[in-house]
């Protein structure tokens, strides 16, 4: 009812739900022993429903809350989540999810954005590592071959992000497409 603000009440209420979906994704993924995080579906869905700004806010709050409740380190990766929210929001606006090929392309773009933002954070906080076993093994290997820390960290991050983000993008759209139109409409930002 706040007409002069794009962040309608429905959208504000959507944000906690988006963070909850991220949590649930992570929870289900580990319950099903899937070798991925799948913890950004909520952020992506909020971006698709309500646009890049809302996606960014959901992403930021996701990491703030995660930092406040489980893992203080995730605060700094809020930037990555913001990047994911913004990029998915813009890709959705650009109709980059209309077919499987475009969706795949979008997934790759999102993975790239996430990696580019995460690498400097990895370098500053962890000396380049990500904390993921497979990625870090690759990192150690590249470091031993005298590859630069930035490049090593980039590959460390992207091996993990690539599959995870592409799948998250596909799942997000799979869900979005079956949501009733009347429901989707409620969460649209006023433009």
């Amino acid at each position: 009812m706040a007409k002069n603000s794009k962040l309608t009440t429905a959208i504000l209420v959507l944000i906690p739900v988006a963070v909850g979906i991220n949590y649930a994704g992570k929870l289900f993924a580990s319950a099903l022993k899937l070798p991925l995080w799948l913890d950004s579906i909520g952020t992506m869905l909020s971006a698709v429903l309500a646009g890049p700004i809302v996606g960014a806010i959901s992403g930021a709050i996701n990491n703030i809350i995660y930092g406040l409740t489980t893992d203080p380190i995730s605060f700094v990766y809020a930037l990555t989540s913001i990047g994911i929210g913004i990029s998915v929001g813009f890709l959705a606006k650009a109709k980059m999810f209309n077919n499987s090929f475009r969706t795949l392309l979008s997934g790759l773009i999102v993975a790239l954005v996430a990696t580019v933002i995460s690498v400097p954070i990895n370098v500053v906080f962890w000396g380049g590592q990500t904390g993921n076993v497979w990625g870090d093994a690759l990192f150690a290997f590249l470091q031993s071959k005298n590859v630069g820390i930035w490049v090593s960290s980039f590959f460390d991050e992207i091996v993990v992000d690539l599959v995870d983000k592409v799948l998250c993008v596909f799942i997000t759209f799979g869900i979005f497409k079956v949501l009733p139109k009347t429901l989707v409409y409620t969460f649209k930002g006023e433009e």
Binding site: I73, W126, G127, A140
Partner: protein, 258 residues
């Protein structure tokens, strides 16, 4: 678990501090440890943050928080000790692998920073009622609409997750494959998350309607049923933190200039 929070109820001096003062300590101590690439500076803050944690009687819980990053910290010592680019001085050998001094010191610097970050934020999180922090921020000028999001997220998530077990059971009874091969487990993931998303969006819409009808969209002066008070101690703590921050930044700039 009704509220997503690590808050440990107690009545210590630290608990009674204004939430914003604790938040400020966490932020400023983190910034300072990152401004100075010095293990000593980091260690001083770690020690001080630990002192706060002990006087707030949350030391054990703090260890649990640190436990989360233990393995990554250890792997940092190994990877940097072995492969840090500026490694030249061998420190010791273990199972035929040479660890270097430069890498070990670098990993130690990273570790004190991360550990301070966890402990200083841990003090805030473990000793502050989450809704008090939000109320405090809103009373100091944070948009109440944004404050609502922060406060509700802590309760809505456990609420959503409590329904996940219901959904899991319902899907299992319909013969959902939660064990099978990777593809089957991926379809299971879809079947679990889909209904959860739909349900929570419907509930979100209802919640939005319900709070609108209770004046959430009304613009104008708001009042607070819980007023978070700022004591003299709080004010002095905040002033000293600002001073420490300014001194650190100036000092850093002078170091750069020289």
């Amino acid at each position: 678990m009704r509220v997503l929070s690590l808050y440990v109820e107690n009545d210590t001096f630290i608990h009674k501090l204004e939430p914003i003062a604790k938040l400020l300590y966490a932020l400023i101590s983190i910034v300072i440890t990152f401004l100075f690439p010095s293990i000593t500076v980091g260690a001083v803050f770690v020690a001080f943050s630990l002192l706060l944690a002990i006087s707030a009687k949350v030391f054990k819980r703090m260890l649990l928080l640190l436990n989360v990053v233990l393995i990554v910290l250890l792997s940092m010592v190994i990877i940097q000790g072995l492969f840090y680019r500026q490694n030249v001085t061998p420190a010791f050998k273990l199972w035929g692998l040479t660890f270097y001094k430069e890498g070990l010191l670098y990993s130690l610097l990273l570790i004190v920073r991360v550990v301070n970050m966890i402990i200083s934020f841990g003090v805030l999180i473990l000793t502050t009622r989450p809704s008090d922090l939000v109320d405090n921020l809103v009373q100091k000028g944070l948009s109440p609409r944004f404050g609502y999001v922060l406060a509700s997220v802590l309760q809505i998530i456990p609420q959503m997750l409590s329904t996940t077990s219901t959904i899991t059971d319902a899907q299992r009874s319909r013969g959902l494959e939660t064990e099978g091969n990777l593809f089957q487990r991926f379809s299971a993931f879809f079947a679990l998350l889909g209904p959860l998303v739909l349900n929570s969006l419907v509930e979100a819409r209802e919640r939005a309607m319900a709070i609108e009808i209770r004046g959430f969209g009304v613009e104008g002066k708001r009042t607070f049923v819980r007023q978070i008070l700022e004591t003299k101690t709080d004010r002095w703590i905040k002033i000293s933190l600002y001073v420490a921050f300014i001194v650190a930044v100036v000092w850093r700039i002078i170091l750069w200039a020289m």
